[in-house]
Symmetry: C2
Subunit: 264 residues, 2 copies
């Protein structure tokens, strides 16, 4: 029960808040991280998180994944032993490198083993332009989509959209990063049979920060769009990785920050 | 330069995005964490972060704090040696404990050494009621305050307000947590000479999640208000810690989730 106040008085009524759930990921019996998340699609979340951190390339790298929901624990074992020291080193480099010059920046990306996406015109899978209309459609859908958001006002959404703007996979979470991890995890766990002809893209509700760009680039997604703004580091990373950032998608408007040639 | 599109065409124009800056905190020569932040008030941020993590109680615990801005590094040394293992243990308990029953929950709070705030009526410093009008005033000010937000659309603000709703200390950051850390850090570095008669409170732009509640409780702040929603874990924690959560402060409306008796 909450007390709802307005100009004229107070009333006690039931209310619903977004659930925040702590999920601790154990990797090969070592505690890796605790994700504060919305407790839905937890397998997607864990797989996407491991992928975004560069710990797995695909589902084949996983020997086992178990979720103990009541204990708030995810138990993961990998087929190949990985060095946690290596992983921490990669994080350290990217974290401290990005604030410095271009040379360190490239070294940081090398350490993360993220390759730039193919340029439009190179003939790669990201070569074709995405219609502006598709992004406007996706933004409209996003606003009507999230019932959880309307009810509780505290949830982010990420949606993988077809080149028409139609939603392919959508996930909600109280965390911006978690929503993206869940979408990527879902794609790894159940690859889409048919994503349509053109390039797919990622539509998100929250701010586009550097870590969102890294997650998308690892997943091979060449366009990220949002109603919100990108950050400076996100723009820098997107330029280096050939990824298009589209912000402030509102009504008929949008701002294209990078890789303008990807938006047709 | 960005391409700004609307219904009728495209135009290239300069644009400003929020700066995202990686600051790596080194504690006694051990790398502690990298904060992705807005590069302003970095000393406040580091002090508030250390306080929020339970690593320092006050400024006296700090032997040295140096910021190497170009390298993106903060070098901290403490007067007393602390065990990183202890700290990690505390984090682990809270992370995994909160998802379980009440007993583990209390143990988790014990591990974090956060005491419940004094109840209204106990005669403590948090005993007096806060006027609803003060929260409405603070919410209005918050909307007009943040020039950075209006320009870039990607920044959170936290403001410590007097019992009248007047701003005492305000800080902006691309991260919700960082903005709160900066306010708390500022209070530790330069205690306010005069905060007025009644209870002060924290007004924030973003969602109120569990970690925001923990930071506020550690800083002895008994009321958090926001235009956005609290999460379930935030509400649970606020109940145990006797902290009032006020959400959806918009126009003349607000929802009081916990410690209703603190709002007069």
């Amino acid at each position: 029960m909450i007390e709802a106040c307005d100009g004229s008085g107070r009333v006690r009524r039931p209310d619903q808040v977004a659930v925040e759930y702590p999920l601790t990921v154990h990797l090969n019996d070592t505690e890796l991280a605790t994700l504060l998340c919305t407790p839905e699609h937890l397998e997607d979340l864990v797989v996407g998180f491991l992928h975004g951190e560069g710990l797995i390339v695909g589902l084949d790298d996983l020997a086992e994944l178990g979720i103990a929901a009541a204990a708030g624990a995810a138990m993961v074992s990998l087929r190949r032993p990985i060095s946690l020291a290596d992983r921490l080193y990669a994080r350290r480099v990217v974290a401290t490198g990005c604030g410095q010059g271009g040379g360190d920046f490239y070294k940081a990306l090398d350490a993360l083993q993220i390759k730039p996406l193919s340029q439009p015109g190179d003939g790669g899978r990201h070569g074709r332009g995405l219609a502006k209309e598709a992004i406007l459609t996706a933004a409209r859908d996003l606003q009507t989509r999230s019932g959880l958001f309307r009810e509780t006002g505290g949830v982010h959404t990420a949606v993988l959209c077809a080149s028409t703007g139609a939603p392919l996979v959508g996930r909600d979470d109280i965390g911006r990063h978690n929503a993206v991890d869940k979408v990527v995890g879902s794609l790894l766990r159940e690859p889409l049979a048919e994503a349509g002809d053109g390039p797919s893209f990622l539509m998100v509700t929250g701010r586009i920060s550097s870590d969102i760009v890294l997650k998308a680039a690892r997943a091979g997604l060449a366009v990220i769009a949002s109603r919100s703004a990108p950050t400076s580091l996100a723009v820098d990373l997107a330029v280096r990785l050939n990824l298009a950032l589209v912000g402030f998608v509102r009504g008929r408007r949008m701002n294209i920050y990078t890789s303008v040639e990807r938006i047709g």
